[in-house]
């Protein structure tokens, strides 16, 4: 898996003429498969031992706020039609809970195509307790530590992060991480302003439509590089002036028509200001 990503995003000279012109769908398919494999593989065992009191606190919170959809023991609840009110959470890991609850996606306000972000309903301690509880149900990715997602990287690593980002993420999130649409009313949100920890966790747990980028696909180092690329892009000045939403040529085209409108306005103005003598006569 890792080899594959490396080859795709690595040396450009080879790739230019290469067979890797395959549609990105295929690439994503591979990544998803790889992600699922890596999630199931025991490599990510939760090493942190949470003490029993935190877990008990988490369970209490869970019963109140989450059990209605996820079940009393987080075993998941099926609707009559066989869909999920909420999926089983055993094995999703503390990282998933920290991401979902920390970005306000959980508890989900109402069933919909996509759980939307909102201000978090729980404070940091409560999130930690919920995470500990869910982590105790089965092994899954744990919450990354600060040195995993932040810290200085060299410029070369930053550039490499950009390549990883363009290879793995822009298809959904757009070149400027401004977000993009997905089929069926779903969307990949803008990544601007998302905390480094949550970016890391998103890659690790693959929320909803997003594929899982397990450590086998993008190593912790790769993830850190992506994050530093995203963070440095956020602070990058807009060299060209107003960015017009950073959503590509469609908005540029609209402004071009605005420009033509202005010029037509000038044409009207010039035509209206003819020779002075005539103006006076008319007045």
């Amino acid at each position: 898996m890792r080899l594959l990503t490396r080859r795709i995003s690595g040396g450009l000279s080879a790739k230019r003429r290469s067979r890797f012109a395959a549609p990105v769908v295929l690439l994503l398919g591979l990544l998803i498969t790889g992600g699922a494999y890596a999630a199931l593989a025991p490599a990510n065992a939760n090493t942190k031992t949470d003490d029993a009191t935190t877990i008990a606190k988490g369970r209490a919170l869970f019963l109140v706020g989450c059990a209605s959809c996820h079940g009393k023991n987080a075993e998941g609840i099926l609707t009559v039609r066989g869909k999920n009110y909420g999926p089983a959470l055993a094995g999703v890991g503390a990282a998933a809970v920290d991401f979902q609850v920390g970005t306000g996606r959980m508890p989900m306000a109402q069933p919909g195509v996509q759980a939307l972000q909102k201000p978090p309903a729980y404070n940091a301690d409560e999130i930690e307790a919920l995470a500990a509880y869910v982590a105790s149900l089965g092994t899954g990715p744990s919450i990354p530590s600060a040195d995993q997602y932040s810290g200085k990287v060299s410029n070369q690593e930053l550039v490499e992060g950009g390549e990883f980002f363009r290879t793995n993420c822009t298809a959904c999130h757009n070149f400027a991480a401004a977000g993009g649409a997905l089929p069926g009313g779903k969307f990949a949100p803008s990544l601007v302003g998302v905390s480094a920890k949550h970016i890391y966790e998103a890659m690790l747990t693959g929320p909803q439509q997003m594929p899982v980028f397990s450590n086998g696909v993008l190593t912790p180092q790769d993830k850190k590089e992506i994050i530093s690329y995203l963070k440095s892009s956020e602070t990058e000045p807009n060299y060209g002036g107003f960015a017009l939403g950073s959503i590509g040529p469609v908005s540029e085209g609209m402004f071009a028509w605005l420009g033509v409108g202005v010029l037509v306005g000038f044409a009207v103005w010039i035509a209206a200001h003819t020779s002075r003598s005539k103006k006076k006569k008319e007045a």
Partner: protein, 577 residues
């Protein structure tokens, strides 16, 4: 309308000779330009804002030439791999093509380079938009009619070349969007039955992307197409001068004369000033608004793609067609016919282009109007044509929106699939509705013109007669306006001459003739014609009666009537009762 009623007020005066004049005489003795120019300088141009739209296109083209030449000093049209070492740190050390690296270099390390790049791109967007707006004016006013069909054809080719030129330019920097666009072009070429893959290999010099497309497009972009554009623009202007400019109907204006200002000095001053306005607007846009931030897209890499991959707006229609086309394919003897690409990518654009280029001839055939025209038609006086344009603009808008379906979905929180389904139906349903609406609208405007001619204009003065009835005073419109409104010609529905040939057998030619008569009928049937002389007299007569009706009321002025606009109101006040 603010228009000159004469060709100028002062006769030309001879300047006293100066050094510059001496040089000019020297040159003229050898080149003979002045003698040639003298006649052209006295050429008269009518004055109306809509006649300046073509100029926007012209001046943005000049801006493109200026900024484009600047870019050629630093741009390197090569796909050779280099390692970027410029000052944009996000990409430093990355292998990329020389074309992309030099574009980064222009953007970040050449003084004023980014400004010029952005100006070049904005000017390109404006150039094509201005050509379209200009074309719409020509279309709506019937300025393409005989003898100007050829100039319409040239204009159509200019538009096409502009689009090709824009696409070539968009592909030069070899960034992610360039390459994605070329990949689509590659797909379009490959969709040609049987020959597709050979054509693609020929175009890219091997398998896509190859290593020669950028240098080939460069030649196309800075030599071939600009050369053609220049030549055709020249021809366009020559024909314009030769045919003389069309003008709006009005007092003193006929099919035989042109009323306006001479080229020198009024028109030249206005036109020259307009260049600076266009250039200035482009400079402002280039300085303030990001366009094509290639540094954010990254170098082209066939394994990458980004959300928001769209072409420039003028290709939006092609993108939209591709996006809403259902995925139809036929498999025959091991060959695949990709209707899903062939129809939107090749058949549709060719059909559209033929329609645009052939329009003057199609209309001529249907209406049977093959006379020369130098007076313009108002859009309302050709309702079918006007409505056709409204429908075409709708098609364009819908397809552009369809091409940006993911952007719409994302920005307005809509469902991507539903937008696509909506467009699939909408493209067939909405334009005809717009057509009907626009046609009815134009005809209503014709009706209001006729009302003005027959009944005069509404004064807003309400009269109350002895019986207590209320009427609104109408006053006749001015002679000049009446002249202008009646300047249009009557429309004649084409009648098929004979449906059978000499032997009484329906001839194929006759069948065409019948079709033509039917189309002509459909074309004209709801049009309103201008009132006849009798109707006008009748109208005036009616007005006189109405006036007599008012006369007995004159003495018994009700309060407030003194302000009806027909009395001297000096010193008048509201009377107290």
């Amino acid at each position: 309308m603010s228009n000159a009623k004469t060709n100028g007020t002062k006769p030309a005066t001879a300047e006293k000779s100066s050094k510059a004049a001496g040089a000019a005489t020297w040159a003229d003795d050898r080149l003979g330009i002045a003698t040639m120019a003298k006649k052209q300088i006295r050429k008269v141009f009518p004055d109306h804002w809509s006649f300046m739209l073509g100029e926007i296109a012209l001046w943005s083209f000049v801006t493109l030439l200026i900024t484009g030449v600047f870019l050629t000093f630093w741009f390197k049209p090569s796909m050779t791999d280099v390692v970027y070492n410029g000052s944009y740190s996000q990409l430093r050390g990355l292998p990329m093509s020389e074309a992309y690296a030099s574009t980064l270099n222009i953007s970040f390390d050449v003084r004023g380079g980014l400004l010029l790049r952005q100006m070049h791109h904005w000017a390109a967007m404006l150039f094509i938009a201005a050509m379209l707006v200009h074309m719409m004016r020509v279309f709506l006013t019937g300025a393409f009619r005989k003898p100007r069909e050829l100039n319409w054809l040239i204009g159509g080719v200019l538009l096409l070349l502009g689009i090709v030129e824009g696409f070539a330019g968009y592909s030069l920097p070899d960034d992610l969007l360039s390459g994605t666009g070329l990949r689509i072009a590659d797909g379009l070429v490959k969709a040609t039955p049987v020959l597709g893959s050979y054509m693609s290999f020929f175009m890219f010099g091997g398998e896509f992307p190859g290593d020669s497309i950028v240098s080939r497009l460069y030649t196309v972009h800075i030599l071939l197409v600009p050369g053609l554009l220049l030549a055709l623009i020249g021809a366009h202007m020559l024909l314009l001068v030769y045919h003389k400019h069309t003008q709006w109907p009005g007092p003193g204006r006929t099919e035989q004369n042109v009323v306006g200002y001479p080229m020198m000095p009024v028109y030249a001053a206005k036109a020259g000033g307009f260049f600076f306005i266009v250039f200035g607007t482009v400079a402002l846009m280039g300085g303030l608004m990001t366009i094509n931030p290639v540094w954010r897209f990254g170098p082209y890499n066939p394994a990458e793609v980004t959300a928001g991959s769209q072409p420039d707006w003028y290709m939006g229609i092609a993108e939209g067609l591709l996006r809403i086309m259902p995925g139809w394919e036929t498999h025959l003897w091991g060959f695949t016919l990709s209707w899903n690409i062939f129809i939107p990518g090749q058949i549709a654009p060719i059909a559209l282009l033929s329609l645009v280029l052939g329009y003057p001839f199609i209309e001529q055939w249907i209406t049977g109007d093959k006379r020369e025209h130098h007076l313009l038609q108002r859009p309302r006086d050709a309702p079918t044509r006007t409505a056709f344009l409204a429908a075409m603009i709708t098609v364009y808008g819908l397809l552009w929106a369809a091409g940006g379906n993911d952007i719409l979905a994302h920005v307005f929180h809509l469902n991507l699939n539903k937008i696509t389904y909506f467009m699939r139906g909408g493209i067939f349903i909405i334009p005809p509705l717009v057509f009907l609406l626009a046609k009815r609208w134009a005809i209503s405007l014709q009706r209001s013109d006729n009302d003005r001619l027959l009944h005069g204009y509404e004064t807003g003065v309400i009269m109350r007669d002895a019986q207590g009835g209320y009427t609104e005073r109408h006053l006749p419109i001015s002679e000049a306006e009446a002249y202008t409104l009646t300047a249009r010609e009557r429309d004649h529905i084409y009648v098929a001459s004979s449906t059978v040939d000499a032997n009484g057998v329906a001839a194929p030619a006759a069948r065409m003739d019948t079709l033509r008569a039917k189309l002509s009928h459909l074309w004209f049937k709801d049009y309103l014609q201008k009132p006849t002389v009798e109707e006008l007299e009748e109208g005036h007569h009616h007005a006189e009666i109405e006036h007599e009706h008012d006369v007995p009321l004159e003495g018994h002025a009700a309060d407030g009537h003194q302000f009806d606009g027909r009395h001297d109101i000096a010193g008048e006040e509201l009377r107290q009762h």
